[in-house]
Symmetry: C2
Subunit: 195 residues, 2 copies
Amino acid sequence: MKLKDLVEKNRSYRRFARHDQVSAETLRSLAGMAGKSASAQNLQPLAYIIVHTPEGTDRVFPHLKWAGYLKDWDGPGPGEQPPAYIIVLHDTTVHTAAHLLWCDLGLACQNILLGAVEQGLGGCLIGSADRKALGAALSIDPRYEILLVIALGKPAETVVLDEIEQGGDIRYYRDSSGIHHVPKRKLCDIIIGEQ
Amino acid sequence: MKLKDLVEKNRSYRRFARHDQVSAETLRSLAGMAGKSASAQNLQPLAYIIVHTPEGTDRVFPHLKWAGYLKDWDGPGPGEQPPAYIIVLHDTTVHTAAHLLWCDLGLACQNILLGAVEQGLGGCLIGSADRKALGAALSIDPRYEILLVIALGKPAETVVLDEIEQGGDIRYYRDSSGIHHVPKRKLCDIIIGEQ
């Protein structure tokens, strides 16, 4: 698939086919691509936990918060919960500036998300989590700090992009057919100069 | 090309075929892919300036610093300088937390870098720049803050990945044949758990 198509299909999916499991091998290959992304000063401060068993995912799910803009939706129901996760961590023995750490994180996550799409999967970056409880549930060594949780699985919802005018409302919403709409700025509004 | 191959070929290139120009259209399409990446709370705080003319690139180049670990190399020579740049900015009228901004930045930059590789180009994220002087040289509205500069062009160097043992030296180096080596952690060292 062309990258442009992967990028188009790489939407934040929040409802999944819970029983279509994702193999450990798939998750390892996605983490492998994350590990080959650029890293500021090549420090490589990121580490990963892969979660793919029903027991494992049941330990993760209760500590996540979903879709801040959808006020009347509490998150995916039992049959829609993610069948897999990659938890992205900071190995705190690797010292780096916070902004560079989070840039590294974005670079690595994008490889994971695009790789997931290529395999017919989809994902969602979840930054809103009870990190302390999640760390305890997974018995994560305190050397590692949880940065983001990537929910992964076969998407069970339709997500579309809508162009917005400058100053338009950027809040995503779900229409009456259950289609999730994401307003995105126009190219002419984000390219602000050319030389 | 499979994403795995794009990821492998997406190295940080610092020497380019200066006279192989990159079209404005190519840069616009790369910025377009950046604009379709995920954004925390969908705020979309990023904006872009594309630079592709010899005059434009001559304005950018003097304000960049290159390859901190290569102490005896001052940056690309006249025939090796990047023929294009995308400058990634924060539109400061869009308020967001710093760590989320830099994560968004990483997600967007990875689309640009992978898109460049797909087109036979390569890039380098440059965080070390005299932002004040660069902003003045390009007459950037103070509403926009420079986050990173992405150098782009047809690579004129070979970059290879070497696996390192745990605790090994992560500093990249150039060997006697001019090949640039980047030590990367092994997959078994970055996946620290499986559930």
